[in-house]
Amino acid sequence: MTLQADLRVARGGFRLGAELAVQPGEVVALLGPNGAGKTTALRALAGLLPLTGGHIRLGGRTWDAPPDVLVPAERRPIGVVFQDYLLFAHLSALENVAFGLRARGAGRATARAEAARWLDRVGLAAHAKAKPRTLSGGQAQRVALARALATSPELLLLDEPLAALDAATRLHVRAELGHHLRDYPGHTLLVTHDPLDAMVLADRLVVLEHGEVVQEGTPTEVARRPRTSYVADLVGLNLYRGTAHGTTVSLDDGGTLTIATPASGPVHVVFPPTAVSLHPEHPTGSPRNAWRVTVAGIERHAHTTRVRLDGVPPVLADITTATVADLRLQPGDELWAAVKATETHVYPS
């Protein structure tokens, strides 16, 4: 039961040609700049926009294969979380969640009971009767997620699900969304322009530029071997999963990092490659994190040079061309990497 899509849409001057495959239980993030065709891809999968070529298949069924087959949105087993949620303003949170069940033929009482269960799962049982306009951004997002999942869809589509939230709310909602996505057994496609969302939430990234897939792979693969400067700039994050005890985080894949703000439990630690400095000797002074690394690769981009470094943990560093020359960097060189604790960002996971 794999989702297989060859999405071809030609509209005006814009062309989308992207192949996607999503396994059950897998979360795939479609990442790309504005205008890359992410939303077009999502709308085609949802059935809101017919393909002009290619196909969409899930398991043995074909949803779209022009010119013969087109299953309309309301007959596809999908759930969609829209960017601004599009909760029905005149319905309560409970009625919003029950809407899909009712539309798919469930009785009133059954639908309401099931909706109540879903609201409980997203922690909003107390807000069942609330109208959407009285909910906070984070609450509305959870209602939208419950509404999309309540019909047990085979394909869950999320369109910039965190974009409408302020930075503080985002942290919690992102972590929570991650939990729900891990529990969800179906296929998930997450559309976002935010690399952090993509890397934290997705099992696999598909990077779209100008309507074409430019790169795909696990977040680590993509981050470590960016193929275009867009990918390098945006996806080139150092991202680690680990467990925090105070200001120390033990990384799942080995190594420890010191962070500035105490935390506890499972977290993501993120810092940009520009926060990493390279030294021929163990650095003295302020950096709290310093460890031995080996140069694995050097890539030159427009203004900087990105150095891939193996170590515990492996790390990416962006350094100036002058520094490259000073250090006479070659693959295989041994160096010290250093990151200030204050440069790290920690997110609960």
Partner: protein, 268 residues
């Protein structure tokens, strides 16, 4: 330090306030004239006379039925104009407003041409089913609906075009057919527009004169609505005409005020 009240946003501009006050007076002073001239002493007597009661009852019934006809036909029409992929939508939209600019009497004649005994459609209605619409209460309802429907259609279409169609898409992704999405999502979201249109439509139907008297004629108890009664009373007994007008005025203002409080006061 000054004793004058502080204003956050400066004075109201005279170029707006002055015409606004003149406009208000222009609309309200004729009503005042009507109320001043009304023979208040004989008003209760006129009010409870059977012919006034009959005309008032007929007016209310016909205007309400016409409004129902307009809702049943006009809301789907508005939806088609706002959302349907019909070619020549702009022309259709303009055509829908024709009854607004057509003198109502001409509208009545046009209805006779179509639904009259010898009309394009009416001749078959008469020959096959024995249905004759002119000079009947049904004719009044049709004439009023013809003239009033554009008010509803324009109002609902405006609301539909302002409504975000993505909510319908959201409903579709939840498994709702277009009909269900319209009923459960779109209609509730444009309800204020529908209510405003309904009120306008009802008010227009209540005051309808030209198309009604031309198409449905004038017969007490059958087709004599308040405006027709007013017009005929004006021929012989202007006082009675004023009384009838005041009654029509009070009833309609009462109904509209009640509806406004309930529906059009904006989101709470």
């Amino acid at each position: 330090m000054t004793s004058t009240r502080r204003r956050a946003r400066g004075r109201l501009p005279v170029v707006l306030v002055l015409p606004a006050v003149v406009g208000l007076a222009f609309l309200l002073v004729p009503l005042v004239g009507l109320l001043v001239r009304a023979p208040w002493d004989t008003l209760p007597e006129q009010l409870f006379s059977s012919s006034v009661g009959e005309a008032l009852r007929l007016s209310l019934v016909c205007a309400s039925l016409a409004t129902v006809v307009c809702l049943v036909l006009g809301v789907p029409l508005a939806w088609l104009l706002a959302r349907g992929d019909v070619p020549g939508r702009g022309v259709l939209r303009a055509l829908v407003t024709v009854p607004l600019v057509l003198p109502p009497v001409v509208g009545g004649v046009a209805l006779l041409f179509v639904l009259g005994r010898r009309g394009l459609v009416g001749q078959y209605l008469d020959a096959w089913f024995g249905i004759s619409l002119p000079f009947t209460t049904a004719g009044v309802v049709l004439a009023e609906a013809f003239v009033a429907m554009p008010f509803l259609v324009i109002s609902v279409e405006g609301a539909l075009r302002a409504a975000d169609p993505r909510y319908e898409e959201a409903a579709a992704t939840l498994g709702a057919s277009r009909w269900l999405a319209f009923r459960r999502v779109t209609l509730p979201s444009i309800l204020p527009g529908v209510v405003a249109g309904t009120v306008l439509c009802w008010a227009r139907a209540l005051g309808e004169f030209g198309a009604t008297i031309t198409f449905a004629g004038n017969f007490p108890g059958e087709t004599t609505t308040m405006p027709l009664a007013v017009y005929l009373a004006l021929e012989t007994d202007p006082d009675a005409a004023i009384v009838l007008s005041v009654v029509l005025l009070l009833v309609s203002v009462g109904v509209l005020a009640a509806l406004r409080d309930r529906w059009i006061s904006g989101p709470s």
